[in-house]
Subunit: 408 residues, 2 copies
């Protein structure tokens, strides 16, 4: 194992909290592989770059010789929330949980080292736990402390209902740490409270308490809100490499540096200095970031291929060679409204979808972004290139002008 100072530097990098830091040092001093826990919710198995921040940290632990316990919280997932109130989770069937768990693992092993990962399900012990044990578990925590959790405190203050069962989830999560004898638990800053509950419960069970290590929540591609699938600002770990590459190329320069910090082990200060001095073009830096990320989730070869594809399409303004072509059947008497071109050529399933795409700024005609739904496509001898988003592209050819010139 590496010297402790070196390990500490790697572990602390990018973290928000290490609670308490001196216990982390003491645990590393023991010189044995530590048990690093990560809890995962099986109800939302699609991981994105926000999750990758935490997974990268775990990978760093593995590279330092430690063991990751990947805990899938299937127990609570299978209970769900029978009250049917807002903010609820529907109970998952055992099959759904298994399917989600498989998806999860497929994704996490794009980052984690499979050899140094123990995958566990908390139904293993929670299914066997009786109500009496549950009551006993509850006795280790007070109501007031539980209601200090940010979201509970807010909802309680605003008199929005908090189901009693919701107070149990942090305890169950914390109890997992007891069973797993976790040395360290890693999570986003939004998980700080829950991870500290684990620490308390370990103490109550006469175990050395886990060190709590939190990492920042990654902003989404909008650069403002936390990355979240529901906010449509997320880049998924399992998304096609082309999409991952393209979306990373679309982020702001400031966000790029943030992503560098949280998703790579590059030296951000050096990058910033190089860009400020003009030695590194931000576009080049962004391509490197996209390459690093795609390489992690796919392969270095794929990353290079995506870079080249991107450069061809969006920078050299070259079109792919195998571009599909839609032949216009009849001579249009005037410019054809763009939504009509899109629906007839199959690039939109309906006029309303076409209009929506145009309004969203997703549509280009001959490389120029069009946001006017009334835009008319003029017939021309040359093919008209219509693009929707980064990947749907089509050449539209008109018979019109040729006919006219023959006539004339």
């Amino acid at each position: 194992m590496k010297p402790i100072a070196e390990q500490l530097a790697i572990i602390r990098r990018g973290t928000v909290d290490v609670l308490p830091d001196e216990e982390l040092v003491a645990k590393l001093r023991a010189g044995r592989p530590l048990r690093i826990k990560l809890g995962a919710d099986p109800s939302a198995p699609d991981l994105h770059l926000g999750h990758a921040v935490v997974l990268n940290k775990l990978r760093e632990f593995q590279d330092l010789g430690h063991l990751v316990i990947f805990l899938i919280g299937d127990f609570t997932g299978m209970i769900g929330d029978p009250t049917g109130k807002s903010e609820t989770r529907k109970p998952l069937t055992r099959e759904q949980v298994s399917a989600n768990a498989a998806t999860y693992q497929q994704q996490v092993f794009k980052i984690l080292n499979r050899e140094r990962t123990e995958v566990r399900f908390n139904s293993e012990w929670m299914d066997r736990m009786g109500a009496a044990e549950m009551v006993r578990l509850c006795s280790h925590y007070t109501v007031a402390r539980m209601l200090e959790r940010d979201d509970f405190a807010r909802r309680y203050a605003e008199q929005r209902p908090i189901g009693m069962h919701e107070l149990l989830y942090p305890l169950i999560q914390g109890y997992d740490s007891v069973v797993l004898r976790a040395d360290i638990e890693v999570g986003g800053t939004d998980q700080r409270f829950n991870l500290l509950v684990g620490r308390e419960l370990q103490k109550a069970h006469n175990q050395p308490p886990q060190v709590v290590l939190t990492l920042p929540l990654l902003e989404g591609t909008d650069g403002e809100q936390k990355m979240s699938k529901s906010l449509r600002n997320a880049i998924g770990i399992a998304d096609p490499p082309e999409e991952v590459f393209g979306r990373l190329m679309s982020i702001s320069d400031a966000l790029m540096l943030r992503y560098y910090e949280l998703l790579t082990s590059e030296n951000v200060a050096v990058l910033r200095a190089q860009m400020e001095s003009g030695r590194l073009h931000p576009m080049e830096a962004k391509k490197r970031l996209a390459e690093i990320v795609v390489a992690r989730f796919s392969s270095a070869a794929t990353a290079l291929q995506e870079r080249e594809r991107f450069e061809r399409r969006f920078q050299r303004r070259e079109l792919p060679e195998d571009i599909p072509t839609f032949e216009w059947a009849e001579v249009p008497s005037a410019a054809v409204p763009l939504p009509r071109v899109m629906t007839l050529s199959g690039m939109a399933s309906s006029m309303s979808e076409a209009r929506r795409l145009i309004r969203q700024g997703a549509v280009r005609v001959n490389g120029r972004r069009i946001d006017d739904v009334a835009f008319g496509v003029e017939a021309s001898d040359e093919a008209v290139i219509v693009q929707v988003g980064a990947r749907r592209i089509q050449a539209v050819r008109f018979p019109v002008l040729k006919n006219t010139s023959q006539r004339g």
Copy 2:
């Protein structure tokens, strides 16, 4: 079964709440024997007159043809409170619970009709309940509503700790009503909240909710605080008949009417009128009350016997015939301090106990209350009668004067 109007009059008598009254009427209209639940805590098996108020009401239900479900909450008793904080209950062993349950039954069947009583233990279903079911149970109630319970609200406001498990107990108690399909639950007014939780949980389980019927908390013999063993103002159901009779004779006239109302089916208005018009002496009314209560817990014959004993001892100032006698061995040179007389004759186990009893006003010499610990007992030809409390009595005979007179 009696007509509904008649049943209602009996059931409503002395109650504080009938929630909701119209559902009680509807349930009675069904014409079937109703299931009347009473929950009991096995950690304190000594019942007193305060409990008798509720038990009397149950007995009335039985006399009307309904069924009583006597539920012993052994599950929570066996969990106890492992945090060791104040206001805790120590977990009971299964043996202690069984012993307490036996004591309980012995006592309740002084009032209840055994034929129309079903005794149940909630460990029957709670021991089988899993943690998942517990979480589901919790989902039927919100934290805010639970914290509305008086004692929780007070402790929360005063920032005194409330263990999370304490919030589970009302739910478990309420769930008992679900399992038992209770039609009505009876309890003291301090149980109103818990009984209403049962109602809610039955609704959540698609059952007709129980009617909640609360009865006043009986004041102790001091006439001020709620009757409670720990406040030493309680008359126990299992106390010796002589003591029950004597202590009832010691209460105030006002409290006597309260006890009549809550512990008997006598018409209190009539009694009050008779006393005010001078047709009934309060002392006679009190003796009747004591007779009624003793007759219920023992037998009519015992009650009569206790009445006669009381009259002999405290009213006709007669002494029991079989009064034990202590013969003083040597001639005392002077008056003997009363504590010494008491210890030597075995009426107190030590000088300090004797002094305490005297200071408490529990000791009489020849019928006169003595509260001076320095009081000296003069030798006399006649036996000196020393009484401690109502029941310990002894004659002390001195050889002194006889010897002196022989000498003189």
